[in-house]
């Protein structure tokens, strides 16, 4: 296909129409590669049993995280589901804190309480990874409600997958958000499989963005393998929402290269399909573009790779050397009071 040829005209035609500053391309590249390497290492450490429990990686979906950092503001709150490591990193959580959390260590993002599915950071306005499919949709709507109530011009980013798009909570939330003109950006990360079940097998409406249209919410389908396309759609949405018009709905089409979770061999899809999406790998394509269009030299790209490699090594060392929480810390943060009388 065109994107794999050396023909720069073809490459250009296949990328987003708007061109961005070299700084933006490099920020995207660095973030996307950081997430990719973080997740690859996560899988490796899971294999070594240093990470346990349910674990869902973001590999293949990194261009969406890239859009979040360039098109939106750090003050914009974000909530998502359990495929969340990449989004948390994009919101500014430190890889050390994320890796330590995966290891269940005291120095983790939530002190070893949450593991892979539940990072949170008030400082970074990251409202969490939710483990129940679709539960974050009304919560994201409520986070937006609070922004409007407080009179800010922040927008709440409410992210969910194609599986969650079937939960009734989405329909209830969209209705209220549009009726009350809440500042919420709904992002359906459509990776085409709800665990082992394809979109086609679970819905009569396969263009998920049309769910938004049902409520007269401006809605778009977006190429989620292209950070430029993701950025442009998010920027359009943000402008609309910040002007007080109410919610916006994006269906960002992407693909997860790995199974639903580490225990899923993903036998429900074909090798050909995976190959087709591998050819559109957002990280590789962006790197190719950066080199071909001389946005950066190969040496500069290598320097970024080396830096990220060191960051990941540091995160793993940090996680490895950190202590587990003490057993009694299980009782911390169940109630606000320090002297709550727990039953025995």
């Amino acid at each position: 296909m065109a994107t794999t040829t050396k023909n720069s005209t073809e490459s250009k035609k296949n990328s987003s129409t708007t061109e961005f500053s070299p700084k933006t391309y490099m920020e995207w590249y660095e973030m996307m590669l950081l997430i990719r390497r973080f997740e690859e290492r996560t899988l490796m450490e899971y294999g070594r049993q240093n990470i346990r429990g349910f674990c869902h990686v973001y590999i293949g979906q990194e261009a969406i995280a890239a859009g979040l950092i360039s098109a939106l503001r750090p003050e914009d709150p974000v909530v998502t589901g359990y495929r969340q490591h990449g989004i948390a990193i994009a919101k500014g959580l430190h890889p050390n804190a994320c890796m330590a959390e995966l290891w269940g260590k005291k120095t983790g993002a939530v002190k070893g309480k949450g593991g892979s599915m539940h990072f949170f950071s008030n400082e970074h306005r990251y409202f969490g990874g939710n483990g129940i499919v679709g539960a974050q949709i009304p919560i994201g709507t409520g986070i937006g409600f609070a922004e409007k109530y407080k009179g800010t011009d922040n927008l709440a980013v409410c992210m969910f997958g194609d599986g969650a798009a079937r939960q009734g909570a989405l329909y209830e939330s969209l209705n209220m958000a549009q009726t009350w003109k809440l500042p919420v950006l709904y992002i359906c990360e459509n990776n085409h499989y709800a665990m082992g079940t394809s979109v086609e097998r679970t819905s009569s409406l396969t263009d998920i963005y049309r769910v938004g249209e049902t409520f007269d919410i401006p809605s778009e389908a977006v190429d989620g393998m292209d950070p430029g396309a993701v950025h442009n759609a998010m920027a359009r949405a943000a402008e609309y929402i910040r002007a007080g018009n109410g919610p916006y709905f994006l269906e960002i089409n992407t693909y997860r290269y790995k199974g639903h979770s580490v225990s899923d061999p993903a036998r429900y899809r074909t090798k050909e399909e995976l190959k087709e999406y591998m050819a559109k790998d957002p990280v590789k394509l962006l790197e190719k573009k950066i080199i071909e269009q001389e946005i950066a030299t190969e040496e500069q790209v290598k320097a970024i790779k080396d830096k990220i490699k060191a960051t990941i090594e540091e995160a793993v060392t940090f996680a490895q050397e950190s202590p587990y929480p003490e057993p009694h810390e299980l009782y911390d943060d169940n109630y606000v009071e320090d002297d709550y009388p727990f039953l025995t």
């Binding site: 429990g53 959390e101 260590k105 309480k113 539940h118 499919v133």
Partner: protein, 328 residues
């Protein structure tokens, strides 16, 4: 004659046998068909029964539970699988407000013969939202029956009884015990709902438990035996209706009771057992009833939390020694 089967295969046999017998029985849930079940309980069932009777749903717990209720009211006998009872919380409206109340609010005009089944309980480092037990939540609701048993042979017979039952029945399984093996009798048999099983006979103390905690209680009993303490272990098997007679008879013999319950302590199964015993066997008790529950908190992810949280043989032995007034 019998065979050794894993819990998941015993449960599957129960469903297959009942579906062969009764055309009205069907299985519905997330990933039950093409994926062969999230935990492979329904492996091969799509091949035998086809898409009409083994049905993959979207991730819409409230919706498909309600579809099950409507189908049950209209003459079918659904088995609704939840990937875990943690996700069934989304469907509690249909289970509690409708399945449980159909017979009462229609004054017997409509029955709701439906089985809601799936794993309950902690399963390692799965953190707060994926580690809860639901027996006492469901058993609190009149109109529902609740089964919770991991012994493969009994679980099979109980699930068959549940499918044939004219009432809604909630069946609690266990993620980490699906591979647990046990003797499963050959041929057709049922295990009645509402009857406990004595897993180990003893004379000094009664330990009442259910689901996977029965295995912890049995381990504790083995250790206690070495110290000369004879513990009787009762597996409730059915939570509602609860088999009071078996519990009372045992306590009348041993005069001491420890309840081991993976659920949280507040107003749970352990509290119910303790109430029943003080009501009906007060004069037989030589010590206050003690319960061993999971910690009264949400379970965090770290391995140190899991160890602290769950009942285990050490905690059970300590409780037994307390009711025996043994210092050590």
């Amino acid at each position: 004659m019998s065979r050794v089967l894993a819990l998941r295969d015993a449960l599957k046999e129960a469903m297959i046998e009942e579906m062969r017998l009764d055309e009205r029985v069907f299985l519905m849930g997330e990933e039950v068909a093409q994926y062969n079940g999230a935990y492979k309980v329904s492996k091969g069932m799509l091949d035998e029964f086809g898409e009409k009777r083994v049905i993959d749903t979207p991730i819409t717990e409230l919706g498909f539970a309600g579809i099950g209720v409507g189908a049950a009211m209209n003459g079918l006998r659904p088995i609704v699988e939840f990937m875990t009872w943690n996700f069934a919380i989304l469907a509690f409206d249909q289970i509690v407000n409708n399945a449980a109340k159909t017979l009462s609010q229609s004054a017997g005009e409509f029955k709701c013969p439906i089985v809601f089944r799936g794993p309950s309980g902690a399963a390692g480092q799965l953190a707060q939202q994926h580690s809860q037990t639901f027996e006492s939540w469901m058993a609190n609701t009149p109109g529902l029956k609740v089964i919770s048993c991991i012994d493969p042979g009994d679980a099979k017979g109980l699930l068959k009884s549940a499918i044939r039952d004219e009432n809604p029945v909630c069946v609690m399984e266990s993620e980490i015990m699906y591979g647990f093996q046990g003797e499963v009798p050959d041929g057709e048999y049922l295990v009645p709902i509402g009857k406990a099983a004595i897993r180990r006979e003893g004379s000094d103390v009664t330990i009442v438990s259910y689901n996977k905690m029965v295995e912890e209680a049995k381990k504790a009993a083995e250790e206690l035996e070495k110290e000369g303490i004879s513990a009787e272990v009762i597996d409730l098997r059915t939570i509602r209706p609860m088999d009071h007679a078996t519990i009372i008879a045992s306590v009348q013999k041993t005069n001491r009771l420890v309840v081991v319950d993976e659920a949280w302590p507040f107003a749970g199964v352990s509290a119910e057992v303790a109430y029943i015993v003080q009501k009906h066997a007060f004069d037989y008790l030589d010590a206050p009833v003690i319960r061993v529950n999971s910690a009264d908190v949400s379970l965090g992810y770290a391995p140190t939390f899991v160890d602290e949280y769950l009942p285990n043989p050490t905690k059970i032995i300590k409780a037994v020694k307390e009711v025996m007034y043994v210092n050590k």
